[in-house]
Every structure is written in C-alpha cells, then in structure tokens.
C-alpha cells in the first residue's frame, strides 16, 4: 500500500502528487560527494532537514518553471548508502534521480550498476542522470567515455563540487526533466499496478498470520 512505502511518519509523501511539488533523490557510494554537490547548488543558504532516525537529509529548493512556482525536495542519504541499498520509502514517488560517482575511485563507478538496478526496481521510468564528480582532481577524465551512462542511455555530467564546474547546470536540467516526467508520465498507472501487486502479497501474508486487519497499518518506523 502507499502508506507502506511511505514509511516515514514525519513526512507526508502524498504531497509529491501535487502539481508544484517535485521529489529528486541522490544515489551513490559513500564519499562520492553527494552532499557537497547539494551544498554547492544551494550555496545561497540552505537549511537541510535532518531525519537522523532514517539516515536521511532533505533539502528544499524553490524555483519557477514556465512562470510557475515549483518546490523541489532533494533527498540525500546520510549514511544509508552504507548498506548499498535504500529503504523503499526513499524511492517512493521520486520524479528524478541523480546518480553520483567519484572519478578518483573506480569502485564507485562499478557500483553504479547495483544502484541503478535498485532504482529501476522501484522507479522503472523516472529520468536519471549520471554525475562524474571531483573532476578538479584530474581534468583528464573529461576526455574519457564512461560506458555505463551510454549503455543505459543516460546523460553524463562532468562536475566538481569543489570548483563548481557544471553543478548548477546539472541540477537545473535534472529539475526540468523531473517536471516534464511529472507532467507526462503514466505514473498514476504505475501506482495502481503496484497497489494491486502489494494487495495480493499482503493478503497472502495476512492469511498465514491470521491478522487480516493488521495488514492495512503502516509499517513500523524501525524497519527503515
């Protein structure tokens, strides 16, 4: 059920159904620079909301697209990447994904495969960008092809959170993609399908546990 995937009592994720609300998630290994990129983009003052129980940080960003006010929520992990997997509520209702690796560490590039697989399990359709961060450390990497992005048909950005190269461009283009996905997607159908699938699963479980009503309650927050 929707409330299951929602998973975080403090946060009403139904708000992301509203026209002017967008949710963008960051993925990638520890220390690739996800948080530094957020801070660089929101340089003019940001007040991240820490949800430490869920190893989660939220950044809010106000902007206008086509003369319409839009509120973007960026979701950043605060340690959950350690498990190389995120709780389903992280993906729930996301409209775009920023996937980051560190150009100085091959393993973070190789791990994109598993991050991407997990993303697609939950959000098969949302736009996703691949971000090669820390190019200030070695500009030569910008002359290389990183096949992962090409193979998956994803845009690749060469950026540096340190000197700022292409950070704002990458974020702005991702927000645009998120908006246009939101306006044009068959998201609603996805949700309905998912609900139906969940319903079947829950029923099976409920029968075996003989607690038919319990199945409708949200999961306990400890499971995050």
């Amino acid at each position: 059920m929707a409330s299951d995937a929602n998973g975080i009592p403090e946060l009403d994720q139904d708000k992301y159904d509203a026209d002017e609300q967008v949710k963008i998630i960051c993925l990638g290994d520890s220390a690739v620079g996800k948080s530094k990129l957020m801070e660089r983009f929101l340089i003019d003052g940001y007040r991240p909301q820490q949800l430490s129980t869920y190893a989660l940080t939220l950044y809010k960003y106000n902007t206008t697209i086509d003369r319409k006010a839009v509120l973007v929520d960026f979701w950043d992990t605060a340690g959950q990447e350690r498990f190389q997997s995120m709780h389903p509520s992280y993906y729930h209702k996301a409209h775009a994904c920023i996937m980051v690796f560190d150009v100085q560490r091959k393993i973070t590039y190789k791990n994109l495969t598993s991050w991407y697989t997990e993303l697609r399990e939950y959000r098969p359709e949302i736009p996703c960008v691949v971000v090669a961060n820390k190019i200030d450390a070695d500009m030569k990497v910008t002359q290389r092809n990183f096949n992962f992005a090409k193979k998956q048909g994803l845009p690749l950005y060469f950026v540096s959170a340190a000197d700022g190269t292409n950070v704002v461009k990458m974020f702005k283009e991702t927000i645009k993609m998120a908006m246009s996905y939101k306006q044009n997607s068959s998201d609603f159908m996805d949700e309905v399908m998912r609900e139906l699938e969940n319903f079947e699963l829950e029923q099976n479980k409920d029968l075996s546990l003989q607690t038919a009503q319990e199945g409708l309650k949200p999961e306990s927050p400890e499971s995050v």
Binding site: Y109, K110, A137, Q143, N147, K150, D163
Partner: protein, 162 residues
C-alpha cells in the same frame, strides 16, 4: 618564526608528541627535540579538541606554529587508537586514502577520517562564494562523446556484465 618544525611523531609511553625543530634564535640553527606530554587524555577524548588545546598552549604554541591543527589532530588519533588497542598499522591505514578501498564498509568515524583526508584537496580546489571571481552557474563544455577516448574502467566489461 623563532622555531620551525621539521618532523613530528608520537611516543606512546607516557603519551607525548615529539617535535624535531630548528631554532632560529641566536643564529644557532641547531636541530632540537621537544617532547610535549599529552595530559588529561584518554581513549575517549576528542582528538580535535585536544589538538586545539595543545596548539594554543602557552608553553608550546611557539614551537607548534608551523605544525597544522590537522596534523596535531592526527598525532592525537594515533595516541588514542593505541590506547584503544588498535595497531599502528590499522591507524595509519585509516588515515591514508586508498582508491581501491570500499568506503561503504566503514563506520562513521572511519569514514570521517577518510573524508578529512579528501578535504585537503577539496579545500585547495574550492571556489568560494566570496571569491572575487566566483561564478555561481559555472559551465564548462567538454569534448562530446564521440571525441572522447575509451576509459580503462570499462575494460573488463564482459566479465561483470557492465
């Protein structure tokens, strides 16, 4: 600067920081050694605070002027890890960046040590908001995909289904 630090290290027993320095006083230019005891320091102490205390200590600060706070903190970390029973090897590895290491496997403190190492380059290359030549929306065009060369990281492609 009357004293210029040349090398520094630690001594476990009793816990102290050892400093080899050159004295510029009276043109002697001789290498000297100073042993600074680390007091009120236990395996639970905050290394950053302890380092700061030492750096500003009225009797030692002149000698420590050319030793960075970061380095003093690392020396305290070596001492504290030893008190916690860690080997010197373990500690030195935790303070070194190994590009092959999987940082997802580290706990908070270990990860913080790695990030502190990364911060050196980050701070060196950083453009700040109050720099005169700061550009918020800095865009740089790089070679297009066709003009770029293959990356060695993609080489074992067939093995791992990348």
């Amino acid at each position: 600067m009357p004293f210029v630090a040349k090398r520094c290290g630690v001594q476990f027993c009793p816990p102290s920081i050892v400093l080899i320095y050159e004295s510029n006083i009276k043109d002697t230019n001789k290498m000297r050694k100073r042993i600074i005891p680390v007091r009120n320091f236990s395996k639970c102490s905050d290394c950053c605070m302890a380092a700061e205390r030492m750096k500003h200590h009225i009797r030692h600060r002149a000698y420590l002027e050319s030793v960075s706070l970061g380095q003093l903190e690392r020396l305290h970390i070596v001492l504290r890890d030893h008190m916690q029973g860690h080997s010197l090897e373990h500690t030195l590895a935790s303070l070194r960046l190994d590009p092959e290491e999987d940082l997802n496997k580290l706990d908070d403190e270990e990860l913080a040590r790695k990030k502190a190492q990364m911060d050196k380059l980050f701070e060196r290359n950083r453009r700040r908001k109050d720099d005169p030549d700061f550009v918020y929306d800095l865009e740089v065009e790089f070679k297009g995909e066709v003009a770029r060369e293959p990356c060695s990281w993609d080489e074992e492609e067939s093995d791992d289904g990348f």
